[in-house]
């Protein structure tokens, strides 16, 4: 069995996930990046997107969290993800995410200029939530 790293996904209000993982894949600032055990020390910002990990706490399974930006610290034996919001599959309100996505996409399509950055972020966040909620059979 491969060496394990310790993954923590932490929001200001709670620890969303904590446990051993074989690999963690996160949307880093410079593209998605995977972290195995013994990764070189790294500190990166995260884009809004989906964090995936294969965790091994007794049984091997995959987990996914939609994260709304944040920071990730990778050390040889642990990965720490700090984010304002992290939602697992069961926590996503699919209807709300769809509505948000539709509204933001329309806003982007109709008015150029304006507050495009905020809308683009909202699109990404809605997309991330839907990705987590709707991926079949993880």
């Amino acid at each position: 069995m491969a060496a394990l790293t310790h993954l923590s996904i932490i929001t200001p209000g709670s620890v969303k996930f904590e446990g051993s993982a074989e690999i963690v894949v996160a949307p880093g600032a410079a593209g998605d990046l995977g972290a195995l055990a013994n990764h070189a020390p790294l500190l990166t910002t995260l884009r809004t997107g989906v964090v995936r990990a294969t965790v091994a706490d007794g049984t091997t399974r995959r987990i996914e969290y939609a994260v709304d930006g944040g920071l990730m610290q990778v050390l040889p034996d642990k990965v720490i993800i700090l984010t304002d919001l992290a939602l697992a599959r069961g926590e996503v309100d699919v209807e709300e995410a769809r509505r948000d996505l539709k509204r933001s996409e329309e806003a982007l399509a109709h008015k150029r200029g304006g507050d495009d950055d905020a809308e683009r972020k909202a699109v990404a966040w809605a997309q991330a939530r839907l990705d987590v909620a709707q991926r079949p059979g993880v």
Partner: protein, 298 residues
Amino acid sequence: MPTLMQLRDRVRSLKNTQQITRAMKMVAGARIRRAELAMRAARPYAGGIGAMLAELSAAGGATHPLLQSPAATSTGILLMTADKGLCGAFNSNLVRAGSALARTVTKAQFFVVGVKGRVQVRRTPFPVVADWPLQSKPFVELAKDIATQVSGEFLSGNVSAVMLVSSRFVSTIVQRPTPMQLLPIAPTPAPAGAGESASSSDQASARGGGLKNSFEFEPDVGGVLAALLPKYLEFTIFQALLETQASEFAARLIAMTNATDNAGKLIDELTLVMNKTRQASITKEILEIVGGAEALKG
């Protein structure tokens, strides 16, 4: 000497008061538990973000506007208080700590959280730039609003430093108004209070020495700093809000416990007086009857 009727009214009204204070005591007791849990839940994040900031400042080389003090103009004081009273000297102590600090700095300006604090600070000679009620919205959002306003004032040069005066929750019995520097951000090696949580507490210490300078940063040190510092500010405010609220409940618990006890003591005393008065009037009536009967016999 009050009459029997007056005493009875007095005792009845005291019992009502005691019921109210007892209810408030119980509510505070229940909410303090929840507030303490929320405080504890925030600790892993504190440990994580503190460690990252320490790592970044160890790497050096990068600067950010939130780290540097602009030309000294005036000092902002972010004062956190409760919305409601009936919690002993809790609010007054905080306001006193805030205005004591205000007198030692040049041109103090206040940012006030909590209705009670706003009312009291208005009576001091210092201007209030902005204020928020404590219980208006979830703390995460409130912290975001406060951080935006405060860092805006700082970056535009209206204030050259921001001090935070909030209540430190030492225990249910002790809450201490504590000042700390909020802006410019001064990185601390290891944040206090992160030690207890088993999860992410040890990363700051475990990775000492050789690895310190071998960190890679994506996109770069400056980019990470720019993302981290506003979050750090927001989170520091968020944590102070949690702690101030827990302190408020603790102060109210104690104040209301005292009030309930005092009411009980008063009720006991007055009941005794009331019984004595009643007994005295009965004795007097018996004496009159006996006296009258004796007179008729004679």
